[in-house]
């Protein structure tokens, strides 16, 4: 049966230290982007979310992950029902239905669903007994992800929907995805995404109104200035920061409001402007350390189930960092994916802490049995 954790000395203190450092950068920059504006005091709210998240993380780490994964089918059903509930009676903000009220706050259901899918996929792949992933299992896993993905797309929330994909890809890869399958599916996926989102191609295969829909689908919060303007302003902010940065609270792009949603999705832009390349080195160094540390935890997991759980978290967080930061430097379109732990946001912060809680959970039990 399930044994209790080996004790607090088995917590990954390095991971916690990295986590704390990233959160500190986030709080500082949220303060810098909002002080003196109508949103002043937001860093304190963020701090509150961080504390709640930390508590939840420790709570979740104490509950044996096998026990959690045992309930994967139930969790999956809860997730689907919650997504349906959002679609039917969710709270609409910025033109999308994503929120349901929980305890006086609006909770973004899709963040919870991300966590559930990590657990469900880990359970699914842990039960694959072969060394190589069969096409049949691959399709099953795809369908498992496909249903919630479709529901999230319907909100619409392309960003969160996309995060489910790397969980599937990384899980399948570790479960023994065949190179042939990988090649075929990645080529197909690449062509599809390319065709739809690459204007020179989409011009030929899509009607103008369809392309317009794709554009507005990609950027539901987009204002009259257009997403190209947002990305340009972000690049200006980053570039004008130079190596040393303009100094805390001195970024003109940040302080004068040229950076869009600078306390949330574009917080890295504000950080890069005020702290310069040296600050970026620090921030991205911390993220790299975080991700590598997660992989190390996976490598030291007791069993395949724990490994899949940790790597699901790693895939989700890595994807967040990649897509968000690439957007900030103008290398990817605006998708509304926040930067984990730095961007302001309750649901997203709680998701990260709960996910790390799962990782701790796996770590605590690596020597059991």
């Amino acid at each position: 049966m399930v044994k209790d954790a080996a004790g607090s000395r088995e917590y990954d203190y390095w991971l916690l230290a990295i986590l704390a450092a990233i959160c500190a950068l986030g709080v500082v920059e949220v303060y810098s982007t909002t002080h003196g504006s109508a949103l002043a005091g937001m860093h304190m709210k963020q701090l509150r979310w961080l504390i709640i998240g930390t508590v939840l993380m420790f709570v979740l780490s104490r509950l044996d992950y096998h026990l959690i994964m045992d309930q994967a089918p139930v969790l999956y059903i809860i997730g689907i029902v919650a997504l349906l509930a959002v679609l039917l009676m969710g709270h609409t903000r910025f033109g999308a239905k994503r929120w349901i009220p929980v305890l006086g706050e609006f909770l973004q259901v899709s963040e919870l669903v991300k966590l559930i899918i990590i657990i469900v996929l880990a359970r699914f792949f842990a039960e694959v007994r072969t060394d190589e992933l069969s096409l049949q299992d691959l399709i099953k896993a795809g369908l498992l992800v496909g249903l919630p993905l479709a529901l999230i797309l319907k909100q619409p929330d392309l960003g969160t929907a996309l995060v489910l994909m790397p969980m599937l890809v990384v899980g399948a890869f570790l479960a023994g995805l065949k190179w042939q399958h990988a090649a075929v599916f990645s080529l197909a996926g690449f062509l599809l995404v390319g065709a739809v989102f690459y204007p020179p191609v989409s011009r030929h295969i899509l009607k103008p109104y369809q392309r317009e829909r794709i554009t507005s689908f990609l950027h539901p919060e987009e204002d009259a200035k257009g997403s190209g303007y947002q990305l340009l302003q972000s690049k200006i902010a980053v570039g004008s920061g130079g190596f040393w940065g303009k100094g805390f609270g001195n970024g003109s792009q940040n302080q004068l409001g040229y950076i869009p949603v600078r306390y949330s999705d574009f917080i890295m832009s504000a950080w890069a402007e005020e702290q310069g390349f040296k600050g970026v080195l620090l921030a991205l160094g911390l993220y790299m350390a975080l991700l590598l540390r997660l992989v190390q935890n996976a490598q030291r997991a007791k069993d395949r189930a724990g490994m899949f759980l940790v790597m699901g978290v790693t895939a989700a967080l890595g994807f967040h960092v990649l897509v968000n930061v690439a957007m900030v430097i103008g290398a990817m379109p605006v998708t509304g994916i926040p930067l984990p732990l730095m961007s302001y946001g309750g649901s997203a912060t709680l998701f990260v802490f709960l996910a790390i809680g799962l990782v701790m959970n796996v770590r605590l039990r690596r020597f059991v049995n």
């Binding site: 842990a126 690049k235 200006i236 004068l256 390349f277 991700l291 590598l292 007791k302 189930a305």
Partner: protein, 648 residues
């Protein structure tokens, strides 16, 4: 709990290691992206951030006002708002252009054209897309600050002229600079700038125009001003005082209302222009913003030629006014001698052709000498004089007394008129001069043409004994051109006696406009527009072929203080159509002078402060006064009671 996980500890260590490499690769790529932006292209983005942050807004300098000789405001400014389009971000401009066009009621094609015309200018320089913003425009701009942060309002100063085209040919008007003006200005002018287009506005543009300032402000992303970096104040244009006397100008304008003609009043002692009117006249307030193509075309094709400043540009036959030139020439050249008499039976025959005197068919002048010939304007006498003198001698003296060349008045585009000669006809028409033409020229017909200003200048010069002062409108002009011609005392005495007789002797052509207590002299002229024969052929009733009425009056007889030349085109008889206008102006001049002499002591005692507040010099007054709306509201400021004493 089922043991679904079966303690399966097969971990794909190789693939996990691969995941680590992917993470390192991913972070490295992202860092390379930052390196590109923050290290390689840092300067470029730094400049872009600066352009975001800083907005340069011009501060338009007000143009100098124009005051009359008593300090009354003739041309003023009033504040108004222009709509500026910021062009730093052309992509955003293109995106919002149709919304802007709709919101401001502009044509999108015009906007495109304007953008194309200004494409060469630096991007940080905004352009004026609507010169006079309405309250609705202001509301539109304010409400779209966030989504269209490309519009800015700019306070400008617009010209306010006296209504109805009052003095507009002298003052001229301003307008947006033409491309040619921009080219000629050595980068001093930019498209959208305002410059004088005609008249004094153009003549003294360099004085009147100020230097625009620039305000550099910090703006946030929705275009709201967050702070000021620097401000370079505008330097207002200089206020200029004119020699024009509003009271005399008013009489001239009123007298010409509804007519085609011109009035020029000069002080021959100084060359100061006391009044200069020409009608019909456009209302320059209509051009103060932007003149439409249709309106411009209408003004240019109007048969009455409202854009012609008749005072300096109408080149017309002077008619009998020219007899003053003939008399001067005769007395100076002594051809024929001064006791020359001619018999006037009403007409005379020269070179086989009959030339009529103006009294032909009604009466005759009988035997006339020079004095009677001037007083009664006998054509036959001057035919005979002209025949004896010959065209070249006439030409020589006409040029000597100031005809056939520009007077040099400080207005652009003055015309020189024409004094014909044998050499001229040879040069221009490649033919010999017909002696018969000399007969016509003798009474101011034929090829000889003059402007109203020239007539006033010439009569002033002769009556001043040959002393000529360059006519000018700027009171504090630096140097006044002057020259002296040799005229004998006897010539001046006889010619002025003749002109005195015109008004003050019984039977003189101007006897009806005599003035009590003033030595009012003058000479009338009734110039045929076409030959009398042709006129009867085309129909008498048509006003079009009516004679041009001239009258030049002055006072006193010797060394006059004021000369007034009046032209009423197609006005009929000079003495009756133009004479009264000259008389009214001279009368007003003397009335005012008398009042001033009597009232000066009291006025100064009562309101000494007027002296100080009055602008008599070229230095700028309080520049703020130029833009005070309550001040501009009043069309004319009340005349100050205290006046500078006239130099005697």
């Amino acid at each position: 709990m089922s043991y679904w996980f079966r303690n399966d500890n097969r971990l794909p260590q190789e693939r996990l290691a691969a995941a680590s490499y992917v993470i390192v690769g991913m972070i490295t790529l992202l860092l390379l992206g930052f390196w590109k932006l923050q290290i390689i292209d840092s300067d470029k983005y730094g400049q872009m951030a600066e352009r975001n942050r800083v907005r340069s807004i011009p501060i338009i300098a007000p143009r100098g006002r124009m005051l009359d000789r008593d300090g009354r405001v003739l041309v003023d400014n009033y504040p108004s708002f222009s709509v500026l389009l910021l062009r730093d971000d052309m992509a955003a401009v293109e995106r919002s252009l149709s919304v802007i066009a709709d919101g401001l009621g502009l044509s999108i094609d015009d906007l495109h054209e304007q953008l194309a015309n200004t494409a060469k200018l630096p991007k940080f320089q905004p352009i004026v897309i609507k010169p006079e913003a309405t309250p609705a425009d202001v509301a539109f701009i304010e409400s779209h600050r966030a989504d269209i942060p490309l519009l800015e309002m700019l306070m400008v100063h617009r010209r306010r002229y006296l209504p109805g085209g009052f003095m507009s040919h002298a003052s001229g008007y301003v307008g947006e600079v033409s491309e040619k003006q921009i080219e000629d200005s050595n980068d001093r002018l930019r498209p959208g700038d305002v410059a004088g287009k005609s008249g004094l506005e153009r003549q003294y543009n360099d004085l009147l125009v100020g230097t625009d300032g620039m305000r550099r402000v910090i703006v946030n992303s929705v275009g709201k001003e967050m702070g000021r970096l620097s401000q370079q104040e505008a330097i207002p244009g200089k206020q200029i005082q004119l020699t024009i006397d509003y009271d005399l100008q008013k009489i001239a304008e009123d007298a010409l209302a509804g007519k085609k003609g011109s009035v020029v009043a000069l002080d021959p002692r100084t060359g100061e222009v006391l009044a200069l009117a020409s009608q019909p006249a456009p209302d320059p307030n209509d051009f103060a913003i932007r003149v439409s193509k249709e309106e411009w075309l209408r003004l240019n094709t109007d048969e009455d030629r409202p854009l012609l400043n008749r005072a300096i540009q109408a080149q017309l036959a002077p008619g009998s006014v020219f007899k003053v030139v003939m008399a001067t020439a005769m007395l100076e050249s002594k051809v024929p001698p001064e006791n020359f008499h001619a018999f006037c039976p009403g007409s005379a025959t020269f070179y086989g052709r009959q030339f009529k005197c103006w009294v032909y068919g009604k009466s005759s002048h009988g035997s006339v000498d020079l004095h009677a010939a001037i007083v009664h304007s006998c054509d036959v006498f001057f035919y005979n004089v002209g025949m004896r003198m010959g065209i070249d001698r006439i030409s020589k003296y006409a040029k000597l007394v100031g005809l056939g060349s520009r007077t040099g008045i400080d207005l652009p585009s003055e015309e020189p008129g024409l004094v014909p000669s044998e050499e001229w006809v040879q040069r221009v028409y490649h033919r010999k001069w017909y002696p018969g033409e000399t007969i016509s020229v003798s009474i101011g017909q034929g090829a000889v043409t003059v402007t109203p200003l020239q007539i006033a200048y010439m009569i002033g010069g002769i009556a001043s004994g040959g002393e000529y002062k360059q006519p000018h409108l700027l009171k504090d002009i630096q140097t006044i051109g002057e020259h002296r011609i040799e005229l004998s005392e006897s010539t001046v005495e006889q010619v002025t006696q003749g002109m005195y007789g015109v008004v003050n002797e019984g039977g003189g052509t101007g006897a009806a406009i005599r003035l009590q207590g003033v030595e009012f002299c003058g000479k009338s002229g009734t110039a045929q527009v076409i030959g009398g024969d042709a006129k009867s052929r085309y129909g008498k009733g048509q006003k079009k072929f009516n004679n041009n009425a001239w009258f030049v009056g002055y006072a006193p007889r010797r060394n006059p203080e004021i000369v007034v030349s009046v032209l009423v085109e197609e006005g009929g008889h000079g003495a009756s159509a133009s004479g009264p206008i000259a008389r009214d102006i001279i009368k007003a001049y003397y009335d005012k002078k008398e009042k001033k002499t009597n009232g000066q002591a009291t006025a100064q005692a009562v309101k000494p402060s007027f002296e100080k507040s009055e602008a008599h010099t070229l230095t700028v007054e309080d520049p703020k006064a130029v833009i005070k709306p309550e001040e501009t509201a009043a069309v004319l400021q009340p005349a100050a009671a205290a006046k500078k004493p006239r130099p005697e």
